[in-house]
């Protein structure tokens, strides 16, 4: 296939809006190509979107569906010759997830949080999601084996456990959510900060995070640790964010990437002492990111309307449910994690929500280097992913932001600096924040760029780059971003003008890390004991079997394998 004359944005390869042809051969970007020719003259062309943090598969997502038949009634689409039926808005069914991401031009999406014990379920759902390539980040922050290794300061055993657990869960990376708090929630409490000891385990959240970061780098995993801070969602929590970030600034990354990726930063950039004096601390957070290079983040943008909050931060969810008098699901996972699901509605007239909305945008606009911040909504916590075009156009258009702010609570200007920010992002920024940076942050060599050898995941949007004023014509831009002219995945046109053309299965990426045998052996003694005494299943039935990943893509890592650097 040849894509002719597109205005290509490929920031990873230094291409910022150049008219050029792209060639595809055997599903990869190639120097030469033949076959079908797509005329993209003047049109915006980018690598396929890469979403590094989204809740798309697994127990808590399905719990969201089951408890929200009200949501499933929305967005209903009947079966067609090519597509299975679609349902749902904030908690769509698996088919809708694949089709809707593809229509928007996204081709790779990562499930943000999968518990090891329930990873089989995660993979059943991932496998059901058509088209997109995917992976799942594995939860480690409230895990008994992890906490014991941290308590004993045994980083090599910890690394052995991380490697073992990633293999058992077929996971891609290390996810940490409210470390220690999930274990405290096992008896109904929480931790108050990074130095608050975890009941029953003699470790602090800070120690857990730091040790996992060390283990992560020891294993040379493609991705860094991916962290959801303690105190997420609480007024005044920006101090926890800064403290946690500082903990990690002297750790050496084992690859050309960050040492910590912070997720949904918006929910942790809060000032004030309560909801009454709640305000944005985005400027302080942004300053930190501007002054340090060891951390990256994603926005976690909140948009007005319906959402379903779902997170391993179970105490936070309980709090949400009590605050909003809403239905509440909770699911604590033995020896490993916690989680909760609560429907939410964010309202323009609620000052808190308006400030939250502003914070996400402030963060993105105040961080100078777009490689440090990804565009996300923590789908579906801040908003469903189908609303990404709304976020993008808010970033690109100050008049749009101004118009929106005029409809919000009148106290907003007192709580945030958003109105003062004139910066408007351009296509290079957006291509970085939705493609190039996400791939680099995840450590995915063949994604997020259009150099030779990259996966031929390409999006062509129906926008004439030279004719569209992204500041003024934001409505047009939003419409075009919602429905790509062409979405190409692995060299196959999967979506055209919003119509799904083909539904090839995507691949599931997971990381197989090698560790020294003596560390593995020491680890297995612990693991066997845990299964004999505490788990409710047998060790031999625990790990995810091959049958659940018919389309696996294994990435090697660890101490015994020579590695290629991710440039």
């Amino acid at each position: 296939m040849i894509i002719k004359g597109g205005m290509v944005y490929d920031p990873a390869n230094g291409i910022y809006g150049e008219e050029m042809d792209l060639c595809i051969d055997k599903g990869k970007i190639a120097e030469d190509g033949k076959g079908e020719v797509i005329d993209a003259r003047g049109l915006l062309v980018m690598p396929g979107g890469v979403d590094a943090h989204s809740h798309i598969a697994g127990k808590k997502v399905n719990t969201g569906r089951i408890m929200r038949p009200d949501d499933s009634r929305l967005g209903t689409e009947a079966r067609t010759a090519i597509c299975r039926p679609s349902t749902g808005y904030t908690v769509p069914n698996c088919y809708a997830i694949g089709y809707r991401y593809a229509r928007m031009g996204y081709t790779t999406v990562f499930e943000a949080a999968s518990p090891i014990l329930e990873a089989r379920h995660t993979h059943e759902e991932l496998e059901a999601i058509p088209i997109i390539d995917k992976g799942a980040l594995t939860l480690f922050g409230n895990n008994w084996q992890v906490m014991e290794c941290v308590r004993d300061r045994d980083i090599s055993k910890l690394a052995a456990y991380v490697a073992w657990a990633l293999r058992a869960a077929r996971g891609y990376g290390v996810k940490i959510v409210n470390p220690g708090g999930g274990e405290a929630w096992g008896f109904g409490s929480n931790v108050k900060g990074i130095n608050d000891p975890v009941p029953g385990f003699d470790v602090t959240p800070g120690e857990i995070i730091k040790a996992l970061a060390e283990a992560n780098e020891m294993l040379r995993l493609p991705h860094s640790i991916h962290v959801h801070f303690n105190n997420t969602g609480k007024p005044g929590n920006y101090t926890t964010a800064l403290e946690t970030l500082d903990l990690l600034k002297d750790i050496k990354p084992s690859r050309m990437r960050q040492v910590v990726h912070v997720t949904h930063m918006q929910f942790s950039a809060y000032g004030g002492t309560g909801w009454r004096d709640f305000e944005s601390k985005a400027p302080i957070i942004a300053d930190y990111f501007n002054a340090h290079d060891h951390a990256t983040m994603d926005m976690g943008q909140l948009l007005f309307g319906s959402a379903t909050t779902m997170t391993a931060d179970a105490p936070l969810e309980y709090g949400n449910a009590r605050l909003t008098h809403n239905k509440w699901s909770n699911h604590d996972i033995e020896l490993e994690e916690a989680s909760g699901v609560v429907p939410m509605i964010y309202s323009k007239k609620v000052l808190t929500n308006a400030v939250q909305w502003a914070i996400g945008l402030e963060l993105a606009l105040l961080v100078k280097d777009p490689w440090k911040i990804l565009m996300t909504t923590d789908n579906p916590n801040g908003s469903p992913f189908v609303n990404y075009p709304e976020v993008i156009t808010l970033l690109m258009s100050q008049p749009k932001r101004e118009a929106e702010m005029a409809t919000l609570h009148d106290q907003l200007p007192k709580r945030t600096t958003l109105a003062e920010i004139q910066r408007e992002m351009d296509w290079t920024d957006i291509a970085i924040m939705t493609r190039a940076a996400s791939a680099r942050i995840l450590g995915m060599q063949d994604k997020g760029h259009l150099g030779p050898g990259a996966d031929a995941d390409i999006t062509i949007y129906n926008l004439k780059v030279d004719e569209v004023d992204t500041s003024k014509d934001h409505a047009l831009v939003k419409k075009a971003l919602s429905s790509a002219k062409y979405t190409i995945k692995g060299g196959v046109v999967v979506s055209k003008e919003g119509q799904i053309q083909a539904t090839p299965p995507g691949r599931t990426f997971w990381v197989d890390a090698g560790v020294p045998k003596e560390d593995s052996d020491r680890l297995m003694a612990d693991i066997e004991e845990k299964f004999a005494r505490y788990y409710s299943v047998q060790l031999s039935n625990y790990a995810v079997q091959d049958a659940y990943l018919p389309h696996a893509k294994v990435i090697k890592a660890g101490l015994s394998v020579p590695l290629q650097e991710v440039a």
Binding site: R65, I66, T87, C94, E124, A128, W328, S329
Partner: protein
């Protein structure tokens, strides 16, 4: 005879406990012995006399036929129907479920599981209030207070006590049964009640009032409660409320005693609210005791495929869900369902008689290893290999944990998944030739 093979840690495919520590001795391609399983699981794994041949009803009698004829006749029945019901699913693997959903979409039918005669009300309750729960290992390791309400695990989930609940021990519960308070609430004194520290016998149909009274007591609003609620003295209820409030970790297990009784889903709604409110004072979780080993699985698979866990109507091409309208018993009671596929469940035995009579009036396709009353009503009978014994696959435990079932022995019969695939192929073929006929 060849050397016996020992299969360790097999998963039992009978009840929602999904015990995965079963040892099975296989010799000469037959199961010889089952260790660690309870009476129900042993019985299942050891097996029973079963059907060997597909059958089609001709002149009122079931006669042996070929598999392909059976598939074709089944496809014909489903295609000819306006509102075919595809029911059952609880005793087969998720791999079969996926094919069943595809078939329901293809023929424009309604797919429903045994949940609608079991924990369907729990699903509806969860839709109202959410499910504050945990995995079974959390109960094992943490629970000092356990309540069994309207369920009888001693007879329906025999190894539950020892593996997961009252008699289990874990990290924070080293004393096991001795360190726990076990409360049983039921309308009669069951074998489970004999394991209780305190048994509350309540009047049939009064669960809702008793739960409401407890909620009021817990919230400190006990003054307006009468001296007796549902056959229980207020003072006793107040004691129970204190026990629940002062738990370090409480777990409430409930069963068909409250889903089947007066109030149905409202009872569950109330129980879920009770547990949510208890979390203001103590850590508390709640869990439905799922009866069949994979009724959880069809719920999960249907939910991620359609957005809804049961009673999914595909007749208009997009999923529509409205229990009370689209559940199996509703469709049959109103005589809207004009054909039925019954798989991995025995509707003939487990539906109300009047509904079974409605089933008897329509063409029925049965996919099952064993002859049962549904067979007596069926027009097409397709015997299958047994998932969990002869076929590998996925099942979901009562707490939502997915496990992989083993294949222990071979079987010449096709699996449910294979049968459904063949029926689907026949449907597509017949539909293809139907449209060429019209053209």
């Amino acid at each position: 005879m060849s050397e016996p093979i020992l299969i360790k840690d097999a998963v039992c495919s009978f009840c929602g406990c999904l015990c995965d520590d079963i040892d099975v001795e296989v010799a000469g391609s037959r199961i010889q012995r089952v260790k660690h399983a309870c009476r129900l699981g042993s019985s299942k794994i050891m097996g029973h006399e079963r059907m060997q041949n597909p059958m089609i009803r001709k002149n009122g009698e079931l006669v042996a036929t070929s598999f392909q004829e059976a598939y074709d006749r089944a496809a014909q029945i489903l295609l000819a129907a306006n509102e075919p019901l595809l029911y059952g699913w609880a005793c087969t693997s998720c791999e079969a479920h996926k094919k069943g959903i595809l078939l329901a979409e293809e023929v424009g039918g309604v797919i429903d599981s045994t949940a609608t005669v079991c924990h369907g009300p729990s699903v509806i309750g969860i839709e109202e209030k959410g499910l504050p729960g945990a995995t079974l290992g959390q109960v094992k390791n943490r629970a000092d207070t356990i309540v069994f309400w309207g369920c009888n695990p001693a007879e329906a989930h025999p190894r539950h006590f020892l593996r997961y609940s009252s008699n289990s021990s874990g990290r924070f519960t080293p004393q096991g049964r001795d360190g726990r308070k076990v409360v049983v609430v039921d309308v009669r004194e069951t074998r489970t009640a004999k394991n209780a520290d305190k048994f509350f016998r309540i009047n049939p149909g009064s669960d809702y009032e008793v739960i409401s009274a407890l909620r009021m007591l817990i919230a400190g609003k006990g003054e307006s409660i009468p001296e007796e609620v549902g056959g229980v003295l207020k003072a006793d209820l107040a004691d129970l409320a204190d026990v629940l409030k002062s738990a370090r970790f409480g777990a409430l297990f409930f069963g068909l005693g409250i889903t089947h009784s007066r109030g149905r889903y409202k009872n569950i709604d109330n129980a879920l609210s009770l547990v949510a409110e208890l979390n203001q004072y103590s850590k508390f979780v709640i869990m439905p005791m799922r009866g069949h080993y994979n009724v959880g699985g069809i719920g999960q698979t249907l939910a991620w495929s359609s957005g809804y866990p049961m009673s999914v109507d595909y007749t208009r091409g997009a999923p529509y869900f409205n229990p009370g309208e689209t559940a199996a018993c509703d469709l049959l009671a109103r005589r809207d369902a004009d054909a039925a596929l019954v798989i991995a469940a025995d509707a003939g035995s487990n539906f109300p008689r009047a509904i079974v009579e409605a089933l008897a009036e329509i063409p029925v396709i049965q996919i099952d290893p064993y002859e049962n009353p549904t067979t007596l009503l069926s027009d097409v009978v397709i015997p299958c290999a047994i998932a969990g014994v002869e076929v590998e696959g996925t099942a979901y435990r009562m707490d939502g944990l997915a496990l992989r079932l083993r294949k222990m022995v071979d079987c010449s019969l096709p699996s449910d998944e294979e049968i459904l695939t063949h029926i689907l192929e026949s449907v597509q073929k017949q539909r293809g030739s139907m449209s060429t006929k019209e053209a």
